[in-house]
Amino acid sequence: MERFEPTIIAFVCNWCTYTAADLAGTSRQKYPPNVRLIRVMCTGMVDPKYVVKAFLSGADAVLVSGCHPGDCHYINGNYKARRRVRLLHGILGRFGIDRERLRLTWIGASDGIEFAKVIHTMVAEIKELGPAVSDMKLVI
Amino acid sequence: MNYTYYPGCSLSGSAMEYDVSTRAVFERLGITLTEIDDWNCCGATAAEAVSSLLGSALGARNLALAESMDPSSDILVPCSACYLNLKKVEMERREDPELAKNLDTILGEEDLAINNPPRVRHLLDVLVNDITADTLLQKTTRPLTGLRVVPYYGCQCLRPYAVFDDPEAPTSMDGLLRACGAEVVEWEMGARCCGASNMSTKPETAKKLVQKILMDARGADAIATVCPMCQLNLEGFQKAISRDAGTDLSISVLYLPQLIGLALGLDQGEVKLDKNLALMPGFMEKLLGFDIVIPH
């Protein structure tokens, strides 16, 4: 059987996590190529629709990552994101998309290594879990 | 090289082995020590406790005498208490013009004066910085191989004037002892107080301090000292302190120049080992085992 290579969509905030991802690049912290970075201005602008869309389009996991509590460039977008992700956990969890597949992390601008680590862990765990939506064809 | 020598009272009495071994080592190194003529007591800790000006005056007199002998030759002082008292005068009269004036008046009584006094140097300072460990290494003919020594500095050669070593974590003796072939045992008590004259006036307090030092020195063959007061406190009360501690704390205690002298090939008599109060059989045995070797 072909090895399962998950696709992870990462919504990263422009200020912190995107910088961390950049830093991971410049400091040569390799992380698996399974992740697709989508830069957003703030985790607070991640519409739950985007997350649903990602899963329905075939993502095996979604990462939403922004500034640490208190650090949000826009004061409190990350707190709002946390409530939204909680809501999504509550909904998607019922339909087999467990919270392992939808993660919210706070990764600061200097945490390039932390970013690489999160991606590593996530990819490894999702590989274990397998694809998010097994029979996509009829669903979407 | 040439030093003006200030032995101090102890070295002519209870610490005569310090005096003798110091002179012997310097002689072996080819360095002349010229004793200050008519030097007087530095005042020890007593003078200041009676009158601070008196303490300064006593020290100043010695500086004046030394200056009159050879202003360019440093004053070498083996006793830490003497060293500090002289050093204090050297430093304080520089900073305190009024004190300088008073001292001038006092010295004037004897037609003495201080203008540009020589530097006051502790024996250890001279050994480390002028003689240097390298020289000792070259001149060592009887390496004290395997002798485990803890260097004990005491207080007053280090503090309050941190001239040649870290005032709390001194290391200057390490190189010298190693040059002599000895093994320096790491310990924490090198710069702790031995109780000093409290041993006479408040012995219970002082003995506690000595006990701590002796406890930490366990495992070493000898303690090396650079101060008569320390030497006496560490060597003179070992029985009583062992009794207090409930454990045998006896250990050989030697003056640093005694150990250096032995390494330089001097015999026991030349460094007056017979005067030491605490020399353990184990130490003496080791001592006999050290051979004279011809340095390359």
């Binding site: 629709k49 649903v52 709002k80 909680r86 809501l87 019922r94 669903v139 979407i140 | -």
Partner: protein
Amino acid sequence: MEETYEIRGTNWLDSVQKLLASVFETSSVTSMLVPVRHSTTHVLMPTLVSDPGELEGADPFAPCFPLNSAKLVSKLTKKHSNEIIAAVLRPCELRALVELVKIKQATMDNLITISFDCAGAYPNREYNRTGAEGKAAEGKAKTLGFMEQRLGSKLDDDTDKQLSTSCRICTGPFPENADLCITLLDHDPGALGVFAGTDRGRELIMGKAFEVKSLPGTRADTVKEVLQRKKEAAKKVFEDLAGKTATMAGLGNYLASCVNCYNCRVACPVCFCRECVFNTDVFDYEPFQYAAWAKNKGTLRMPMDTVFFHLTRMIHMGLSCVGCGQCSNACPNDIRVAELFTAVGKGVQQGFGYEAGKSMDDPFPLSVFFEDEFQDVTGI
């Protein structure tokens, strides 16, 4: 304990009509929204009554629930008006109204709410087939018969199985925070109790000539018993649902016959958008996109985005879902949407310690946040 006043009429409808009429008398209410059986069609519909004389046709207790009136109240109150109106609402309608008020789609400033112990309703099609036939008098008789059976059995009789699922599993059939709350359970047949659920209600009640009577002592136990029973029923329904929708594919199957008619969202009292986002240009794909998707996947189910639509609706209104069941009523293809949404709604509301429609004081969970909450969300 809130003081309860008792009203005794010839029957429950007579009693309630008395009460409603008295509201007109003693307050400045100019009109009242209440289900009225229309004299010509005999169809029961929410009706705005301004002539107390017309209350004769009012039948708020009929097991008929053509639509959630919260939406109507929204129309009546969203924009400023000087009229004071009253509305007789089922508890689930009142809850939906509370949610709408929070999102500025209605106000309670000039509104008096009246609610009652709800015995439930049939699915719309069922009632239209059986309940609405015949003349006004027959309809009334049917309502009274229904009530007698329901209340007599403490809402545990054979009709229960024919009611809409949402009513069967409704865990909020008793009024709490209406201005005037009408209690029926454990009262003598025909008699009803009234207590004030709000300060405004208290003002209304005070000085009325109703006879003070404390609630029947057995009521609390009965309420408990009913709720317990309904909770168990709900649990069973939810477990069954969870089994069917444990995966995304399962959810897809559950929604397989959806044709994106969006009737469910039109019927939903808390779906407040003027136009659903799924009807906007956001979902106007270009032809080449469809082609690309089909190419990628091999097949493309059309119309697409049905699961997307339902998931999005859960996200948008799950937290406000009051479990009224109108979405199922509205589905042309008999998808049991209400169970799905009620289950999801209950779940996510619990997640935020929120109960839709319970209180005006609880802010909508996505409108507030605290710095030190929900640390577990970010825990990996």
